[in-house]
Symmetry: C2
Subunit: 596 residues, 2 copies
């Protein structure tokens, strides 16, 4: 029994919650806290609790976000130091916007230094120690500035519960002198209660009865899966709903990767029978993947998908997050239909809102009853998705359209696929994922450079899950420049992602919105072949691909397919070549900016 | 006459205020505003108004800060885009803490999008468009969120005036639809009034009489010059005060570079008569440099400086900013003495505060009267400063102590010398600057990585002043990793700084504070020779120096001395070798963290 230090308590609680890597940057107000990370690792075994030591605070926040999205514990953690903690806020705000559970822990000056209003470094020089806490409170679900050791453990537990259950960032400020104060070890023995409050029985019954009556009369219902389904741990409920009902299921850009799509997954694409093989595989049994209809993104959708969704007479929307880039600039045309929306904190049927009727429980209940009302439902077909490219001469220059279809057949089950905002996040929508793939893209917050940090985070979470899960990044040459040094941390930590750098000579997405040839959308050209060795990589691969033949060659190579070293693949593309939906999206964005 | 666009109005106002480079990153809510930068350049001539196009927002903020410190116009400007603007805040907060004039302009969604609470990308997804503005208001002197074209110009003028006169950051949010709205051109014709309000006559008279009576009886008065003397444009007043009184003058770490130090400046150090030559030069006339006594940093000062300052019977403190790292952890022992403090917004004599008696005017008045009371003053000697190293074998490994003395004789008049927080900012205190040098170091805010962005900013300001002024950076290998990509922007913009990278294998300053051998203070080793070519440099120099002989050789080389290409010099140092005062400072910091 006895006591342990407060710093150690924080680490042990994170460990209990399945957080095994802590991201951040050392600073003199957090150094003693960092000691506790190593103590915790020593307790639980080498590799069980790791300090990442990022290249900067923003990258660390992105990494914690990426980690949380892959970690089954659905939390990431970040440690920064007072004042310069501000560098992390863009990353934290992104986690808030996109419903990502994260704990931002800040090492702050001692209680005494605060009381004396000492003009310490990392302060504004005005003796006000509350400023940065106040700023973070605007982008966090809850915060705690620890002052009293008697309540510190309860405060920490409260914040961790909020981060998990609400899937948002929380902020905990830890004064440097409190880190080594003792707290009772017994508090660790009781696990933090992470359960959601039960839905109100009567209200939930009304909701379910209402939905069942709508399902009973629907001729061509569809299911749409969006971001919050995965963020709020409802993947299984959504999957069950599709399996039981066999309704066609579509994803939004932010929902992609939440359900099985049955993509080809590393098969030999030169096999002349490949299409029929895949088709057969897909149509076997009543798999979710056989009901997958593609990506719905309002008027930017492929016509057959748009028709199928918008002509349906009942939409079951799971975890919707209706931002511009997620909906084709708010061009959904399902508003006047029968729509049921399942959200993390309420349910909506047509125009009626049922507060606190939370997605997970209501869907579980619905799934247990829905088969009874499916008697008259006749299975509707789903749109066919393109799986392989039309054959082309190997010397042809790469195009976006060809590339995304080709690379998607190189993916395999279990891959974690991260796409940067811009051509990558749009291009990836063309790919049909194999089953059990995790897709990551920061569509709503859309901070360029995010994906590089997120890749590091995903690698660390994947490493703890299964060393063989591949982490694959698609990032533009422009976005890469914002956060490139996080590749150094990947090398330091020995993770082996695939870094596909789409070299299209600048910020293509911005060019399409405004300033097609403007100087401000140009970037300094880099020698991408030198990035890995500059950052100290010893065992690595660099490949540059510019033609369809070169692309086929590398993607057919079996040793390339194994993630046994870090690889950077420079993909040469024309600067104005972009996925078609991105071009349309950019036109919408330009209109909105003009106030039209 | 007629009208011009609001976007153009902003640019023209900045141009009028001597801002010739705008830092930032393009984003879809600021693109049309960026067009106006190019229009403004076209109007005033190539190179007159430049968009820097930084690698990321934080680096851009650091660059705007460095620019402002060198620009005689005492302003820097930064443009970011809504939401991801948060990445810049650590840099903006640093400008606030350190009294640096800066304008942070943010391109935000159109008024209409705000009114409709559209769930745009770069929002938190909750329809609240005020969050980021609120956050910035905590670290800015004033802010304006433009909404009404009728008052927009006045609001812009108001913010610019505050940024200049208060030497703090201000924030202006510009909705994308307002950029192309027309405003009357006539408003540009009246310059923004940048004058400070006159000091109250009676109060100022009382202050001056009081000071004069103290001067009249003082036997060994000293002058201490701190940060705000240069930030609030009082270099000339301080210089005049020293020239007239011939009192010994000391600088704080943050004041270094404000007054002439008479350092050797590129002389041939192998000349056996060098010492007597320099001494003669220093003692000629009544130059300010001949009265320069060194750096006062409380109990961390050299003993002869500590004695001289703390035994003086009158301290005239100009622009004091008394933070821990600027005072040797608050170890000033002048508190009970006769102290007069000149500040930007008040004057303090002993314990009496005179609000609104501003430094610049009161010093001008004092300078016009002070010679009348100096009749009985006998000139006091100033401490001797070490100018050159004791000869040593060329094969000796470099040490911090030897390096800083050696490099200081390589400096020359007009150099702009930037030192990163850590061993560099402490080591540079050992160097005696030649006259007319600008020193930059972020001692109070102390955000590591700052100096790399600041170097870019300084280069752009220097370029407009005089292409031949050299910009010289000293940065540790750890700090460099946070912001390394800004070297790419330097290459893109064709500036030629000297980048001295002190490779001491990790965060030495943090090691000394806590965790001497801790893993979290280690960094991934980089191949520094590859950095410049990776970022696309064609004409560049890389040198690695590890011995005293190698250092002498490169610093004697006359072509190396010319800033005709970008140069990166890797300086190999032992990881635990640090300037002595840094070791003591670190011990203090560790105490404060423990709450002792």
């Amino acid at each position: 029994m006895g006591g342990l230090t407060l710093g150690r308590y924080i680490c042990e609680r994170l460990y209990q919650l399945n957080v095994h890597t802590i991201f951040g940057v050392p600073g003199d107000f957090n150094l003693t806290l960092l000691d506790k990370i190593y103590e915790t690792e020593a307790e639980h075994g080498t590799g069980s609790f790791i300090w990442a030591g990022n290249a900067n605070e923003l990258n660390a926040a992105y990494a914690a976000d990426g980690y949380s999205r892959v970690n089954p514990g659905k939390l990431g953690a970040l440690i920064t130091t007072f004042g310069v903690e501000l560098s992390a806020l863009n990353g934290v705000a992104g986690s808030y916007a996109e419903h990502v559970g994260m704990v931002h822990i800040v090492g702050v000056p001692s209680n005494e230094a605060q009381e004396k209003q000492m003009l310490l470094h990392h302060t504004l020089g005005n003796g006000d120690f509350t400023v940065f806490h106040n700023m973070s409170s605007k982008i966090c679900e809850t915060t705690s500035f620890l002052r009293d050791i008697a309540t510190a453990c309860d405060e920490i537990d409260r914040c961790l519960k909020v981060a998990y259950t609400m899937q948002r960032p929380v902020y905990i400020a830890v004064p440097s002198n409190m880190v080594d104060m003792k707290v009772p070890r017994v508090q660790l023995e009781k696990a933090i209660d992470l359960s959601l409050e039960d839905n109100d029985y009567d209200a939930q019954t009304e909701v379910i009865d209402h939905i069942l009556s709508m399902v009973q009369t629907a001729k061509n219902p569809v299911i749409i899966v969006d971001a919050c389904a995965s963020r709020h741990d409802c993947k299984q409920e959504v999957t069950n709903l599709v399996e039981i009902t066999q309704f066609p299921v579509y994803v939004t850009p932010m929902g992609k990767g939440t359900i099985d799509e049955g993509g080809v997954g590393g098969e030999d694409m030169s096999d002349p029978n490949i299409i029929s093989k895949i088709t057969m595989k897909l149509n076997t049994g009543k798999s979710v993947a056989s009901r997958f209809g593609g990506v719905y993104i309002g008027s930017l959708s492929k016509p057959e998908i748009k028709d199928a969704v918008e002509n349906s007479d009942l939409v079951l929307s799971c975890g919707g997050l209706l931002s511009d880039f997620n909906t084709g600039s708010f061009s959904y045309s399902i508003g006047t239909k029968n729509v049921v929306e399942f959200h993390s904190d309420h349910t909506k049927i047509r125009q009626a809102i049922y507060p606190k009727i939370k997605m997970k429980e209501v869907m579980q209940n619905l799934n247990s009853k829905i088969s009874a009302v499916l008697g008259s439902y006749e299975e509707q077909p789903v749109p066919k998705l393109k799986l392989i490219n039309t054959p082309a001469p190997p010397g042809n220059h790469l195009t976006q359209a060809w590339f995304w279809t080709r690379v998607s057949s190189w993916f395999r089950e279990g891959d974690i696929i991260i796409s940067e905002t811009g051509t990558s996040s749009h291009g990836i929508l063309e790919a049909r994922f194999p089953n059990n793939v995790i897709g990551i893209s920061q569509v709503l917050w859309g901070s360029i450079g995010y994906s590089v940090g997120a890749t590091l985070g995903a690698c660390m979470a994947a490493k703890y899950l299964d060393q063989n899960r591949r982490v694959i990044l698609f990032v533009g040459d422009g976005s890469l420049q914002l956060t490139v040094q996080e590749i150094s941390t990947m090398i330091k930590l020995g993770v082996n992602p695939y870094l596909f750098v789409l070299n299209n000579d600048g910020y293509t997405i911005e060019k399409l919105i405004h300033g097609l040839n403007a100087e401000y959308n140009q970037i300094q050209p880099w020698d991408h072949s030198k990035i890995l060795p500059t950052f100290g990589a010893k065992d690595y691969q660099f490949v540059k691909i510019a033609t369809m033949g070169e692309t086929n060659e590398i993607l057919k190579n079996s040793s390339f397919a194994e993630n046994d070293k870090i690889r950077l693949i420079e993909v040469m593309l024309n600067q104005f070549d972009a996925p078609l939906d991105l071009v349309k999206q950019a036109q919408f964005a330009a209109q909105v900016n003009k106030g039209k």
